[in-house]
Symmetry: C3
Amino acid sequence: MQKILFGAAYYDEYMPYDRIDTDFKMMKAAGMNAVRIAESTWSTLEPEDGKFDFTHIERMLSYAELYGINVIVGTPTYAVPAWLVRKYPGILAVTSKGRNLYGPRQNMDITDRHYLFHAERVIRRLMEYVSGRSCVIGYQIDNETKYYDAAGEEVQRAFIEYLRKKFPDIDGFNREFGLDYWSNRVGSWEDFPDVRGTINGSLSAEFDKFRRSLVTDFFNWQIGIVNEYRRPEQFITHNFDYSWNGFSHGMQSDVNQFQAAANFTVAGTDIYHPSADMLTGEEIAFGGAMMRNLKPDVRNYLVLETQAQGNPGWLPYKGQLRLLAYSHLASGANSVMYWHWHSIHNSAESYWKGVLSHNLKENEIYEEARIIGRELQAVGEKLVDLRKKPEIAVMVNNGSLTGLSEFPIDADCTYNDILLWVCGALYRINAEYDIIPQESDHERLSGYKMIIAPAMYSATEQSLERLRRYAQEGGHLIMTFKSAVCDEYLKIYCDDQPHMLTECFGMTYDRFTDGRGVKLADTSFEADGTDVKYFMELLQPSAAYVLARYDTDAYGKCAAVTANSYGIGRSVYIGCFFEREALMRLLRNECREAYIDLPDVSYPIVVRTGTNGSGRQITYYMNYSGEKQSLIPQYGGTEILTGSRIPEGSALILDPWGLAIIESKI
Amino acid sequence: MQKILFGAAYYDEYMPYDRIDTDFKMMKAAGMNAVRIAESTWSTLEPEDGKFDFTHIERMLSYAELYGINVIVGTPTYAVPAWLVRKYPGILAVTSKGRNLYGPRQNMDITDRHYLFHAERVIRRLMEYVSGRSCVIGYQIDNETKYYDAAGEEVQRAFIEYLRKKFPDIDGFNREFGLDYWSNRVGSWEDFPDVRGTINGSLSAEFDKFRRSLVTDFFNWQIGIVNEYRRPEQFITHNFDYSWNGFSHGMQSDVNQFQAAANFTVAGTDIYHPSADMLTGEEIAFGGAMMRNLKPDVRNYLVLETQAQGNPGWLPYKGQLRLLAYSHLASGANSVMYWHWHSIHNSAESYWKGVLSHNLKENEIYEEARIIGRELQAVGEKLVDLRKKPEIAVMVNNGSLTGLSEFPIDADCTYNDILLWVCGALYRINAEYDIIPQESDHERLSGYKMIIAPAMYSATEQSLERLRRYAQEGGHLIMTFKSAVCDEYLKIYCDDQPHMLTECFGMTYDRFTDGRGVKLADTSFEADGTDVKYFMELLQPSAAYVLARYDTDAYGKCAAVTANSYGIGRSVYIGCFFEREALMRLLRNECREAYIDLPDVSYPIVVRTGTNGSGRQITYYMNYSGEKQSLIPQYGGTEILTGSRIPEGSALILDPWGLAIIESKI
Amino acid sequence: MQKILFGAAYYDEYMPYDRIDTDFKMMKAAGMNAVRIAESTWSTLEPEDGKFDFTHIERMLSYAELYGINVIVGTPTYAVPAWLVRKYPGILAVTSKGRNLYGPRQNMDITDRHYLFHAERVIRRLMEYVSGRSCVIGYQIDNETKYYDAAGEEVQRAFIEYLRKKFPDIDGFNREFGLDYWSNRVGSWEDFPDVRGTINGSLSAEFDKFRRSLVTDFFNWQIGIVNEYRRPEQFITHNFDYSWNGFSHGMQSDVNQFQAAANFTVAGTDIYHPSADMLTGEEIAFGGAMMRNLKPDVRNYLVLETQAQGNPGWLPYKGQLRLLAYSHLASGANSVMYWHWHSIHNSAESYWKGVLSHNLKENEIYEEARIIGRELQAVGEKLVDLRKKPEIAVMVNNGSLTGLSEFPIDADCTYNDILLWVCGALYRINAEYDIIPQESDHERLSGYKMIIAPAMYSATEQSLERLRRYAQEGGHLIMTFKSAVCDEYLKIYCDDQPHMLTECFGMTYDRFTDGRGVKLADTSFEADGTDVKYFMELLQPSAAYVLARYDTDAYGKCAAVTANSYGIGRSVYIGCFFEREALMRLLRNECREAYIDLPDVSYPIVVRTGTNGSGRQITYYMNYSGEKQSLIPQYGGTEILTGSRIPEGSALILDPWGLAIIESKI
């Protein structure tokens, strides 16, 4: 059996007329083998309180069985029906802007007991109906779940309980959170003010942290219910998303995905990205690096949603849809599923177009999907379950993301901007990376030749100790500005920066400014004259040597980038933000220092690699440009899409937005 | 009797001291013959509940009678007195932002029964007082009436009733509006949620459509009252306005003016526009084209307000005030009335200056008004009741305006931007046009050589059939991108685009994108290299020939503009937005194809024409520039401002911002 | 005894660990002699209702006594504790945005009786504790007090009372405020609507004026309490601030500082400004000019807060901290106190850094402070109590600031922008100035050779008469556009502009526009071609001669800047905004006309002068640039920082960001 899932979300509920048979025929013809159904359809599934209607579900399951297509069933709980809100208006979350109105999805308080009662009932009825069906291969819990800024009385009450447990001594709480400032001291838990008004960054960030735990709780509660019904071979997943700047853009602030993923059987995700001339594939690489590491023992993951035609301006050029599908697989995905099969004719997302346009006919996108589907039928077996072992890990944590949004550097230099600055530079030099959590233990860290912790603003002392030890014992540690600044409650450490690591990096600093008009000088990585942007720390090396300085004397001679030999490892500190091209040069040098072997080619040629189930090395060579590219692959082998033999040392030609996949024995 | 009304709004109420005699003398000396009074003065007319004070009204009427000046009386209902709101706070509308505060005008719910009760009483008392007076020539109902985003409980209840009547079957309602999406299904009318929260574009648009009908109802209610009092020779009008981007800017979204105008005896309007070096006259042409067609059997209209000095930055150059006055008449207006006579010394609109500045003395603007007034006394008779018969109609509808604001293309490419892109291009090639509603019947359509429907996004099948037939029977039909996309409920048609017209245009498309970086190529109208902006549809001709292509191959070869012979007519489809200069070239070609005769000259020389009461052709030649212009008029005749004879073929010189008006026998 | 206070705010409450002894040692070593304590620390001072805890106060006082450091004690009332708000939620102000949430400082209604009751109690207890202590030299009432947009029922009720008193006749009130406009007439005081909704600029401005009086009342109430305790030698001050655009930026709109300062013994202020390459010193000169004149009989003032490291981007270059300290003294300050000693490790202002960074160690800033401290120990005696007698006064008033925010010109051309345009030009030509209130009497005006009234939009007739008389009797009067336009209720004067001064200026105007694309021409001050910006009045001279015209004929020939001989004085009217460089030229000419002697050098060399206690002239020569500068001082004397003798006519070299102070006998 081919195991790569290829398909789309399908909403029989939204169809303007009955065309289910046509659609399944078309999907089948395109080599599609999976549909995702039911998420967000509560109001058709339960049109009245307690009255259930499985018409659409049944139609989907029957046709799926008829055409031999797999079904992923989503629980419908992320959009509540009108009748439920009419009965229990309190289901609508109270946020910092007041009580939500009905209409939008994700407007509820996920801890509201009426919501939970009715959600449980509809989930159980749905599970009863679908879990025994042969076509059902797995479940998706809710969709893109977050806490939706819920800050009502109940949520706040629970937050105070959570704080009381953490801080039995209220004085300790006041001290840790610095509440004396501007008379914010809380004398007794009873006096706790409405947290929505707080100006205390520590308190505000802790409230967000607490609310992320509500999301994890919500997942575990639904998983518990679904587990009562699901067959062992059926997976259970979630559609995790990212921060959003018009596209997927770095870490999601409102979910601790590393914690939240614990009880799913496999990670799932949606990834949306620029297209046409803005297409780079960076978001796919980032999403894959994240998803592979949510469950380190189940490193493959499902792409449950990605764009077909998407929004205006996202329409792919010829060849891009195919390139994208393989890019997901090259990152370790075991599925490529479009959002969605058909474009929608009403409501809000009519111009977030699916594979089919509004006329629901075969079109250019469908044609390209059909090519992909047929190729996957032929070669999917060799691509599924790709094992990837990057030598580089990028360390992240939600606390730093929140922290730098409480204490921002610049609207264009957020935590995610810095994170993606690093990840984008790695991507462009074809240095593959994992994304790992700050909590990773020593063993996990030791598995990497290089660890980069960008803007790790909020860091526990344990995590800093682990990084220190990693470097000392021979690791290659790279940190950027705004790292090791404060603890998990955003209390800034009151000794030398970077906290606990001044010896490790052989430098310290206590001054920083915005870097306006400053350039890099004396660089060891051929980047003199590069503009410093947004922020710079004035590094004062003790043991470290200087990889770059600032070109200004106005603050005295200060370093911008330093490197240090520490124990038997190497520690590099990047004190400022600068143009990505220079960062690529710096990281290329550091990879050499760390004995990390990079491909000779770089972006727009993207090289991604892994080992398949037969133990063969699979190498993707992808052309992220509209011009033909030529290269000499590192290893010879078989180009599996064409079946042609590529001898070692012979050139490979990549079509515009084209790719080759070479299977080698190594 | 000279019948062109020339004058200003006058508020005795706002005067810092008694100067009514001085002002009437000054107006009289300037050849003014009309004042507009009383709108917005409820609190002086009825200073306490039920106590009426006609002091200011009486003063105005007496002096008007004394000086032989006509009076237009406005009902005062668009600004409510403080005592009324204190008694009935519910009069203040509840909008999407909550309950309005007292202070601004137009903050009330026009369906509130207390508001209506008190409005009726004050209108009746006013009518009793003024209707018999000889100087009173007509009435203005309210002012710039809209629904002011009222969305309180009563309004929403009425909306549900309206929906129930339209959709006796709630399932049909859910289907038509696509409410299954994101679980928005409404199981029973009782469950109907607060519509202010909806994310369903169809529902939101329908709510707006319903609320536009409230405005029409409000007009008809007031008209009914006024009709009880008015003498047959007294007109009844309204001051219709436009969308607003700092100036009058295309269609007003909140009123269906074609419906609303039904029971008025004559259309009225206010038009505000850029001035000084930004002056083009486009807004005047557009407003006239609209107003002439609100009541097709009464094609002349009243300009009830236009700017004298206006806001800072609007101060007219020497000659511009005069040019503007004649521009209104050239569009078919029978009046030019300034807002307002005097500048106001307090409150909110102190810097929306009138004819007089704050010192209330003769000034440069007054001097120029006096020139206009004297000229109109001399020649007004020849200019009044101008009959205009453009050969081109531009088709509009509120539904498309709402639709493209629910599903926007770009903040700089709204429905009105596209509409004015077309109208502005026509204006600049001196192709005069009418504005007609989508509902226009076959007979009305047949009267035009060319019909242009820009961005007719929301279109009923009946209207599309009428356009198809128009083309088939020999009409010249031009549509732009985003036309014929969805029905009157914004449900996108689920067959090929443009719906019902693929054969007519000989092309279809199902892909579109934002057109970033794309240019026109292979144009038949000398516009290769023109930048495409905001949006492009990838047209795939079947029968059509290609008037322009896109210069990119990334999506395959696609057409940008197509033309088709259909029946005995011609159909042109413009698939994207591009620079206006290129559109002017395209439209000039199409006019030639349609045997529409354009003047040889174009903007900044503006030519406008019509037939006067004596059956003579009146042609305005206007110079919208600061440089002298020279031209040879199409027909000889008499220049009526100077009385000089212009022989056929001889040159005419236009002063900077100057004009000539030629009367010819034809 | 050295009398210049040099030090910082110190919050023992916020310290992460006990380091008070270390800090006092460090301060002492740096020559610091003053700390400011206690403002904003109510919640530690009174952690529960009625339970007081003087631990931190006592620690500070004891160490201050131990190290011989002076203490300024702030009343803690500008940030309320959580328990107080929990008991009396009504303490949180209702503003135009609704009821405030707890969290931010300055969120209370300063007229709330519960707030006042508890504030009084804590002030009294604090005063009892500290007033007898030898180290305590003075008190600061509250901090940066304003009315915080409080607009709750009680505040509005008091406002109505205030209006009733002013306008016993409600018709007069309606007339003066122009409330007939848009039916806003208030028939009886009982009908008075919620003023938050008003669109009447006069009413809105009067509400702000009334609320400024609440701030004065609040000060006087606290001063009364503190006066019961303070020893005669202890001063009582306030930390007055400015409008804010990311930095101190002109007049504070929410306080009438001239009135508010009456009962303090000395004025105090905080000044924040750009730094690094954006540093100019303009804000320091402006703040000083203002503070020196709040209490004309006590012209020296205290700088209670200014930046050490401040926000990112404010980090001073080497030498700037020292230059800044002397700049304050050169303006007449008797103190330089940083906000604050230590950087804070939590909450909201963690990156508003103090002298010490978060590691609380000696650093570059501390080093530079130490230089300043030691120099002041050596020479402070010669610099303290500097008597300054500028020959120029710039006249300001809150009413004009409010007026031009009700009727704005442009977001970049506010009242403060115009004011600082003038003040900045004066600063850069080294023309020292005072800031005086519009209410200044004839005697005060007569003391100046030149009075400039920029944008004095709202002006009483008395004040205009005083200015007229000033000019007539030989003064040199300069006004700009938007002056003498309306009375104190923003009613525009209904005769010729500028009201009462047309004869004085020998010109009038009634037209104005935005000046887009216009340039100055025919200038007498070598500024032809200078861009006019934002706004221009079309001046029509009668007696005046023209100093500049506009380069456009489109409005006829109009003047831009005029001068007139009036009586035995000279009156100059600047009709538009233009580039500062041109204004500097114009003002330099006018100074010559007024026999005001300017230094030969100009910005970046800044010259400031005064007379010290020994009657010697002190002249500061400051280099506001990163390049060395050289100049020849006007008078020889002793450079007091180095003790070197500077003979008359010899050159003085200023280091980058350096300065020299010459003491001369004159």
